[in-house]
């Protein structure tokens, strides 16, 4: 009997202690107030006093496709002068010596950089952690950081290493943010139907409750080398844009989660926010619009 007690006691004790401090386990129901994007096709034409930016992910392999996407982004900039680009990680593949920053970043986007367009990077699994110090990625030497443009708060995370310090920072930053629009972006998708990686459920358990609680409306990630828009989950719209340089053709395995997807060519996104609406357009490297729509601001409870 002593053995059974000795075996069971720690389990009961540890479970008791843990359950009395439930940590991150916060079951949340569906969020209210999301306007569906379905059918609302827009061209993301420039509007006064709007915030415009572009999105690329898994871009930095220095291949021809990355240069093609860069040219298409520049062509789009003519009619849609976006202020900055968010880069969702794996901004550099392979060797990452000083010369590589030229061939895998500065040259593909040279016209945009010359026009004053800034890139704000997140770290992917192929990025050196030291790349956060590279001025072109505007990370200020931080693995995770935040910035504000007009009425929009961006929270950039390093999902490679989701340590408690970063998690607490993200929660605190979002809780304190007075901006109505809150957008999070990072490398590993919480939801994805990409055949190679798919959803990172462990990260989702950690991050989604925070996003739901503090009013994040949109989340961008990459890692799977396809484009996918996920149906709103608990009120949040999730995008996977991991095909701005590398592509896994035909790797998208649509499921009940999938709202739209594209896995036949490289792509990037154009975003415009004004008032309570965010319009988006996903463009292939040949200039074809493969997805578009409008997302309404998710009210903060």
């Amino acid at each position: 009997m002593h053995r059974y007690f000795a075996l069971a006691a720690p389990i009961v004790l540890i479970a008791g202690v843990a359950l009395s401090h439930p940590g991150q386990s916060i079951p949340i129901g569906p969020g209210p107030g999301l306007a569906q994007a379905s059918g609302a096709i827009v061209t993301a034409a420039p509007r006064p006093e709007s915030l415009k930016f572009a999105v690329v992910g898994d871009a930095g392999d220095g291949g021809q496709a990355q240069y093609d996407v860069g040219r298409q982004m520049w062509a789009s900039w003519g009619g849609f002068p976006f202020e900055f680009v968010i880069a969702l990680g794996d901004n550099m593949y392979g060797r990452q010596e000083p010369q590589d920053f030229v061939t895998k970043f500065e040259k593909p986007y040279q016209p945009l950089l010359d026009a004053g367009v800034r890139f704000f990077g997140a770290l992917g699994n192929h990025d050196k952690q030291e790349n956060r110090f590279y001025p072109g990625f505007n990370m200020g030497g931080e693995r995770f950081y935040t910035f504000v443009r007009q009425h929009v708060r961006f929270v950039v995370l390093d999902t490679n290493l989701m340590d408690p310090k970063q998690l607490a920072w993200a929660e605190d930053t979002l809780r304190r943010a007075p901006e109505a629009w809150k957008i999070a972006y990072f490398h590993h998708p919480l939801y994805s139907d990409g055949g190679r990686h798919g959803s990172d459920v462990e990260l989702r358990v950690l991050l989604e409750p925070i996003f739901v609680r503090y009013g994040v409306s949109v989340v961008f990630a990459s890692h799977d080398h396809v484009y996918e828009r996920i149906k709103p989950q608990k009120g949040i719209t999730y995008f996977v844009e991991g095909s701005s340089g590398l592509l896994r053709k035909g790797n998208l395995k649509p499921s009940a989660l999938t709202a739209a997807g594209f896995d036949q060519d490289r792509a990037f996104m154009l975003i415009e926010l004004k008032g309570g609406e965010m319009s988006f357009r996903t463009i292939s490297r040949t200039g074809t619009t493969v997805d578009s729509g409008v997302i309404a601001l998710r009210p903060t409870t």
Binding site: H2, R3, Y4, A6, L7, A8, A9, P10, I11, I14, A15, V17, A18, L19, H21, P22, G23, Q24, S25, Y93, G94, R95, Q96, L123, N125, H126, D127, K128, Q129, T159, N160, L161, M162, D163, P164, K165, Q166, H188, H197, G198, D200, V201, E202, L203, R204, V205, L206
Partner: protein, 403 residues
């Protein structure tokens, strides 16, 4: 970590015989940890949200508090083996296995880092100590199954203990991810001073050490940015001890080891429960989460580590050290392959090096997959006619059959 105090199933009443025998077998073979790991794998891949919600709730208590007891037990065994009368008392006994452990650690680190460098995933670089981890119990049971009683067994145990000791030093610091606060060194000094005082006062039981020095040391490491699961490691050397032989999993120490004042006597079952929870909390990974870290770890553990062990041992022998009596090179190949499995220590080192995220998941899958060491070791033993597959054993069996 001995099982000497377990009542034999035959001593139980018939009605409880089956359950008693099952518990006896499970505990004797350290199966609670793999059972927890198997449950975790099934749960994580069928109901991942509920699994990860639970594990994030439990992980701190299990990994950073509960595991302190496990490392205390391991430390106590090593300390007792190093005492006069203990199996490791003379340096001659452990020099060659320690050299082999250096080789294994270096070999696994080299292959791991080369693979990660080849695949250009530098974020994985800090994970090299995970590749050098050896699950002591896991390796022991493989070698025991192949050799039964043989010089290979103490050699393997010494090698594994030394390799994991290197790993502990490598993963103890977590300065990259935690805030360091002042006062840790003073707290640790107080904890050790108090343990020293208890020792001087000849306090006969471990409880004051555990209840007073333990929390002080735990807090010292925690605020200083080191893994608090190692909190009892500097305290245990001051505990009351009794020397032991090396065969830590099967020997039958008596006297002070059986005393309720002895740490091992009181904690051996609760620690098995902690190990069950450790397997449950840490081994659950989505199998789709494999990646470069998985392959790097697997190749380092199954190729780099055995080659490193053999190369370092060969070098040491060339420089004048001697292999233990009756341990031949063919035996050593099998022992080296048996060290591939990192399971418990691999999982622990991985959680110590990396916080939650896909990088950790890749390494966890790799740590679980190092179970490939079992068939590798058995295949090598069969090919090389070693241990139970040896000519001697074969002839002995044949003679027995003819009789």
């Amino acid at each position: 970590m001995t099982t000497h105090a377990l009542p034999h199933p035959a001593a139980l009443t018939p009605a409880r015989y089956t359950a008693g025998a099952l518990v006896h077998f499970t505990i004797e073979h350290f199966l609670l940890l793999p059972i927890g790991g198997l449950l975790a794998l099934i749960w994580a891949n069928t109901r991942p949200e509920s699994y990860f919600t639970l594990t994030h709730t439990l992980s701190f208590v299990v990994n950073e508090i509960g595991m302190a007891l496990f490392f205390a037990l391991i430390t106590q065994e090593i300390v007792e083996e190093l005492m006069p009368g203990g199996a490791l008392h003379t340096w001659r006994r452990w020099t060659l296995p320690a050299v082999a452990a250096v080789g294994g650690t270096a070999g696994s680190a080299f292959v791991y880092l080369a693979y990660v460098g080849f695949k250009y995933e530098p974020v994985l670089t800090p994970g090299w100590p995970v590749a050098g981890a050896i699950d002591i119990a896991f390796a022991y049971f493989i070698v025991k199954a192949i050799f039964r009683r043989h010089a290979a067994i103490p050699f393997l145990l010494l090698l594994a203990i030394a390799a994991d000791a290197f790993g502990v030093f490598a993963v103890a610091s977590r300065h990259a991810f935690v805030d360091v606060r002042p006062g840790g060194a003073a707290l640790m000094a107080a904890a050790i001073a108090m343990a020293f005082a208890f020792r001087q006062w000849k306090v006969p039981t471990f409880w004051p050490y555990l209840a007073i020095c333990g929390p002080l040391s735990w807090w010292a490491l925690y605020v200083d940015g080191f893994h608090p699961a190692f909190a009892l490691v500097p305290i245990v050397p001051f505990l009351p001890h009794a020397p032991r032989s090396l065969d830590v999993f099967t020997d039958a120490p008596h006297g002070r080891h059986d005393s309720p004042r002895h740490f091992e006597h009181v904690w051996k079952y609760p620690i098995q429960a902690v190990l069950f929870l450790f397997g449950l909390v840490n081994a659950g990974v989505l199998l789709s989460g494999y990646g470069t870290g998985t392959w790097a770890l697997l190749s380092a553990a199954a190729i780099g580590k055995p080659l490193g062990i053999l190369a370092a041992t060969g070098l040491a022998v060339a420089l004048g050290l001697h292999l233990p009596l009756r341990l031949h090179w063919r035996d050593l190949v099998v022992v080296a392959l048996a060290t591939s499995g990192g399971f418990t220590f691999g999982l622990f080192f991985a959680t110590a090096v990396f916080p939650v995220g896909p990088i950790l998941a890749e390494l966890k899958i790799g740590a679980v997959a190092t179970g490939i060491g079992v068939p590798l070791a058995f295949a090598a033993a069969r090919l090389l006619h070693v241990g139970r597959f040896g000519h001697h054993s074969h002839h002995a069996r044949a003679a027995h059959t003819e009789m």
